[in-house]
């Protein structure tokens, strides 16, 4: 174990004292970047492409942060992808159909995410349905709702002034023209920092770990387990709402049929980042690294014009290997 007292950096604190391991977990990421840079130096390591990679990580990254909380409680949330879409749709309903002002629309859309998360949480705690099934049910339900609400047509935000700037504008680029990082990327990092603080510095985070470690012991410590679970799912749902806004802004529309399957990418990012599916262990920093491993891999293979069938084969292999090498490092400190 790393001793926190000997290396109390902000990094170590944010990542819950496992900074060393996490820094090592960068390994797979660095390795991938080096390989692609060597193989395609002129295309991969360009500013445009790097920003493209950052941009392409945002949505999965934010969904993965939401999933990290759930997975640390030893739960699972299959609805994150569809929930994101549902929030995008609701943002459209509020801002376009009802014409509410953008800030209010944003808050309400995130609120819808939190509400849906809350419903999953209630199904899990009050109906005692296992998370896998509760969120599988929610996935179908929300997908149907998104299609019903939109009558299977996208909602376009063209008339909502500045909505596409949420994801695509670049406040940073306006200040420092050499760094045209899109706002969506900053939002992802902001969500990550807030997520890490909540996970490691608040009661919610503490109970997240505790529930994943031994739920019965937590109950017998006099903690209202049900309430905290609902709170955690609600919080995670709210984060999915942010992902919904990001994707809606990026596509400048709410696409009601998109989103299914994204949950697997999110969960893969979480696990590659060192969070245990059996609960009790995990960091946000790891999750972000995991999300980048996924997006760098896919971008690199595309840049190299690898046929998509081979992309699948290689992605499958590399996901397994990334988790394997991460294991190796953990066991040899």
């Amino acid at each position: 174990m790393t001793d926190k007292n000997t290396a109390p950096s902000w990094l170590a604190r944010l990542s819950g004292g496992q900074a060393k391991q996490k820094l090592l977990a960068f390994g797979s990421l660095i390795a991938l970047i080096v390989v692609f840079s060597v193989l395609k130096p002129d295309a991969f390591m360009t500013q445009d492409n790097l920003i493209g990679i950052l941009q392409s990580t945002t949505v999965i990254g934010v969904l993965a942060i939401a999933s990290t909380f759930i997975i640390i409680t030893s739960g699972i949330d299959l609805s994150v992808g569809v929930l994101m879409t549902f929030c995008a749709v609701m943002a459209g309903v509020f801002m376009v159909n009802l014409g509410l002002p953008m800030p209010l629309g944003i808050v309400l859309a995130i609120g819808m995410g939190a509400l849906s998360g809350c419903v999953s949480g209630l199904a899990i705690t009050k109906l005692k349905v296992p998370p896998f099934i509760a969120t599988l049910g929610m996935m179908m339900l929300l997908k149907g709702l998104s299609l019903l609400i939109t009558q299977t047509r996208p909602i376009y935000f063209s008339d909502v002034e500045g909505f596409d700037q949420i994801s695509l504008g670049s406040l940073l680029g306006d200040l420092i023209p050499a760094l045209p990082i899109p706002n969506g990327v900053l939002i992802m990092f902001l969500v990550a920092v807030v997520g890490a603080v909540v996970l490691n510095k608040t009661a919610l985070g503490r109970y997240t770990f505790a529930l994943g470690s031994n739920e019965e012991a937590v109950r017998l410590s006099g903690v209202n387990v049900d309430r905290w679970k609902v709170i955690i799912y609600t919080f995670s749902g709210g984060i999915c709402g942010i992902a919904g806004l990001l994707i809606a802004s990026r596509l400048n529309s709410a696409q009601p049929a998109l989103g299914q399957g994204y949950e697997l990418d999110a969960i893969a990012a979480v696990v590659i980042g060192g969070t245990s599916l059996s609960g009790g262990v995990g960091t946000i920093l790891g999750t972000i690294i995991g999300a980048f491993i996924m997006s760098v891999l896919i971008n690199g293979l595309r840049i190299m014009s690898v046929a998509q069938e081979w992309q699948m084969v290689l992605t499958g292999l590399i996901i397994i290997l990334a988790v394997y090498t991460d294991n190796l490092r953990r066991n040899k400190p």
């Binding site: 395609k40 002129d42 295309a43 991969f44 360009t46 445009d48 492409n49 493209g52 941009q55 392409s56 949505v59 299609l147 299977t152 047509r153 996208p154 376009y156 063209s158 695509l168 994707i247 990026r250 596509l251 400048n252 529309s253 696409q255 009601p256 049929a257 998109l258 299914q260 896919i298 971008n299 595309r302 840049i303 190299m304 014009s305 998509q308 069938e309």
Partner: protein
């Protein structure tokens, strides 16, 4: 009793299928028949489509409209329909069998070949282009991809297709477009074989702030029309999905009345761009 005609389609979430449904509903209203419309979630789920067909037949319909994901796989059920004297109208893509009374369809290979011609025209007959197709296995995906590739190969030796990638949804298509631009700096054009593919390509180009890339799209939808208007997409091929839906139901009704029908009802396709979008003939087949 009301005449009931279920349409078993290849999908229902895409704008294209919704437009087909719209045409079917329109015809249903005019001919006073009851129509239902359903299709599997992805165009790979051949067996789910067959389950849908089987449930549709249990409802003892007067006729069936069917857009086969894999025409051979459905033959045992179609034979059953034949035995039960339920006429089958194929739509969108054909069924390799003589059971369907008629087929209301677009010639996707020819439509994609037209896209290739337009692409060649816009880029001046030479250079690198790429394809963002919608998936590897669906009939329309394969026909449009191959229709485009074969036309280029046959007629434009100086054009090189450097990559074919498969998008699926808008977001993934946009990521692919950006990666294509990185990998092939000299890229001159992208053909998106369906609506998300075309819009995604446009998005990707916009995000990468590249200009001068020629995008040829397929189908319509509001976003694609907007992009054609603002010049991001040079133009697109449109089928006549509303017409496909309408003709399918109409054909069913006519068959029930005992009318003779041609083996193929070609619902046609058009190339459209900024210049002819408001032409009534074109505007009629575009959807939002």
């Amino acid at each position: 009793q009301e005449v009931y005609i279920p349409l078993v389609s290849k999908g229902f979430q895409h704008q294209f299928w919704q437009a087909v449904k719209q045409g079917a509903d329109q015809a249903a209203k005019e001919y006073k028949v009851k129509v239902t419309f359903e299709g599997p979630e992805t165009e790979q789920q051949v067996d789910k489509q067959i389950d849908m067909l089987s449930a549709a037949m249990a409802k003892k319909p007067a006729a069936i409209g069917f857009a086969a994901l894999d025409s051979k796989a459905a033959i045992p059920l179609l034979k059953k329909a034949q035995a039960a004297k339920i006429p089958v109208i194929a739509f969108d893509s054909g069924v390799d069998s003589d059971i369907p009374v008629t087929t209301a369809t677009t010639n996707n290979v020819a439509a994609a070949a037209l896209a290739a011609d337009k692409m060649a025209e816009k880029i001046g007959g030479e250079g690198e282009v790429a394809v963002i197709a919608h998936d590897q296995t669906s009939r329309t995906g394969v026909d449009r991809r191959d229709g485009f590739l074969n036309q280029i190969k046959a007629k434009y030796p100086k054009i090189k297709v450097v990559d074919v990638q498969y998008g699926g949804d808008q977001l993934k298509s946009a990521e692919i477009a950006k990666a294509l631009l990185q990998a092939h700096p000299k890229l001159k054009g992208i053909f998106g074989t369906n609506e998300p593919g075309a819009i995604g390509a446009g998005k990707g180009i916009k995000e990468a702030k590249k200009s001068g890339i020629v995008i040829i799209g397929f189908d319509s939808g509001k976003a694609q029309k907007d992009m054609i208007n603002d010049g991001t997409i040079a133009g697109a091929i449109t089928q006549n999905p509303v017409g496909i839906g309408y003709k399918t139901v109409e054909a069913a009704v006519k068959t029930l009345k005992g009318e003779k029908l041609p083996k193929i009802i070609d619902t046609g396709f058009y190339y459209y761009d900024k210049s002819n979008m408001n032409d009534p003939k074109v505007a009629a087949v575009l959807y939002d």
